[in-house]
Structures are given as C-alpha cells and as structure tokens.
Amino acid sequence: MIESFLANLDTLLLYVFAASALIGALLMIVLREPMRVATALISTMVFLGGIYGLLGVHYIAAFQVLIYVGAVMVFMVYVIMLLDPRDPAVTRKFSRLLVPGVVVFAVLLAVLVASMWRAAAFLDGGSVAAGGSSSFGLQQFATAFLSEYWLQFELTSVLLVAAVVAALAVIRVSRRERG
C-alpha cells in the first residue's frame, strides 16, 4: 500500500500544489490589505514553481522563484511599505465595477472552459510527463535558445536597456515636478 502511495506521490503533490495555487489566487481577490494580497500572490507563485518542478522543467521552476518571487514581488513589497495605510484605496476594497467585473469573469470562464472541452480530443493525444521524465532537458533548451532563438535573446537585452532608460526618465520627470 505504501508503495502504491509513493508511486502516486507525484500526482498527489501536483493536485495539492494546484489547489493551493488556486486558493492563493482567490485570496488575492478577497483580502483587503495590499501586504496580504502580495503574500497570497507570492504563495501562488511558489506553488506554481512546485508544479513546474513536478513537470520536470526544473530550470523554469528555479527562474519562477528567482525572478518572480525574488525580484518582482520584493519590488512590490517594497512599494507597499512606502504607501499610506489610511488611503481610501486600502480601506475600501472593491471599485464600482464589481458587478460588471463578476459578469465578465463568468463569461470569460464559460468561454474558455467550453473551448477547452471542445479541444479535449486534441488534448488526449499526449499526456504530460510528470515526475522528472521530461521530454526535453536543460541541454536541449539551452541549445535551442542560443542557436535557433538567438535573435530574440539579443532583443530581450535591448528591451531591458530600454526599460532601464524609461525608468530613469520617469524618475527624472517626477524630480522635475517636485522642483
């Protein structure tokens, strides 16, 4: 019995991580304070990283934690600390668009789920290889990245330079406004 449990441990963990990520996403809508929302988002991202690890793409899991949780969310938390806690945007959770938002959410979910059920025949073609037996590893990925997609790789560096310049420009504009 223990052996069958251990054999299915990957699947079990996958479902647990998926449920936890979903709960974290739902908490983001429900919670009021920005810091708690950020914590819920961090937990969702960490669980998604766990799912990537279980799917066998460990390098994407590592980058998910490094870039999203490490860089992006630290930035977010840093900004939350600069904010005024008595801001009405913090004390009042939802905007006037609550009802239209929920309607759009329901319609989008219905359309996406319906199209997914329609594509079920296509999805049955191959199953996800869970638990390390991945069909491509870091080596294939790195080779494909730097031989086939080298142009995109170089373009991202241009994008990052543009982002740095834009951030500096924004800071300069705000300094000029302050005088």
């Binding site: 699947t11 996958l14 998926a18 990520a21 979903l22 996403a25 983001m28 809508i29 920005p34 929302v37 988002l41 969702t44 998604l48 799912i51 990537y52 799917l55 066998g56 793409v57 390098y59 994407i60 999203y68 860089a71 992006v72 930035f75 900004v79 904010l83 005024d84 009405p88 945007a89 913090v90 009042r92 905007s95 938002g101 929920v102 759009v104 989008l108 979910l109 789920v113 997914m116 079920a120 999805l123 049955d124 191959g126 199953s127 996800v128 290889a129 869970a130 069909s135 491509f136 990925f141 494909a144 997609y149 991202t156 994008l159 990052l160 982002a163 951030a167 924004v170 705000s174 302050r178």
Partner: protein, 100 residues
C-alpha cells in the same frame, strides 16, 4: 480528470481570476499584482503545452515572458509611485480625469 486538462483548467482559472482582480479591485498596486497573476496563468499553459508536445519552444517563450514581466514591473512601479505622489491616493477612481 486528465493531468493536462487539470493544469490547463488551473491556467484558465488563474487568468480569469487575475482579470477579475484587475476590474474589481480599487487599488492600483493590487491591480498590478493581478496582472502578474494573469501572466503566471499564461506561463503555466505554455509550460503544459511545451511538456505535452515535447518541444523547447514553449520554455523559450516562458523565459521571454519572464524578461518582459520584469521590464514591465520596472516601469510600472515608478509610474504608480509618481501617480501616488501626484494625487496622494492609489484609488483608480481618482485618475478618471485621465480619460481622453
């Protein structure tokens, strides 16, 4: 339910919840975080499809999305800080005079 289908449903749910948050929440910063959640949902679907088809293209695209998300946050956060300094609030309703 099949594993692929479960992961794709999770990706769909994350994307839809992120969109709901962008529309429904009041604070600009929380809206930004919900946009990140939408990006995460798309990333999950890309990884699932890449695993299913066994090609590295999806993983390459996920990496490019990581870079774009980082650049987006690096621009968006200073803009949010600037707007907050201007109007002293994060309320999205306070910026309704921005409409063209």
């Amino acid at each position: 339910m099949d594993k692929t289908q479960m992961l794709l449903s999770l990706a769909v749910a994350l994307f839809a919840i992120g969109l709901l948050g962008v529309i429904v929440r009041r604070s600009l910063l929380v809206m930004l975080m919900c946009m990140e959640l939408m990006l995460n949902g798309v990333n999950l679907s890309l990884v699932t499809f890449a695993q299913q088809t066994g090609s590295a293209v999806g993983a390459v695209l996920v990496f490019l999305i990581f870079v774009v998300a980082t650049a987006e946050i690096a621009i968006a956060i200073p803009i949010v800080l600037m707007m907050t300094r201007h109007k002293r609030t994060l309320d999205a309703d306070a910026y309704s005079d921005l409409k063209g």
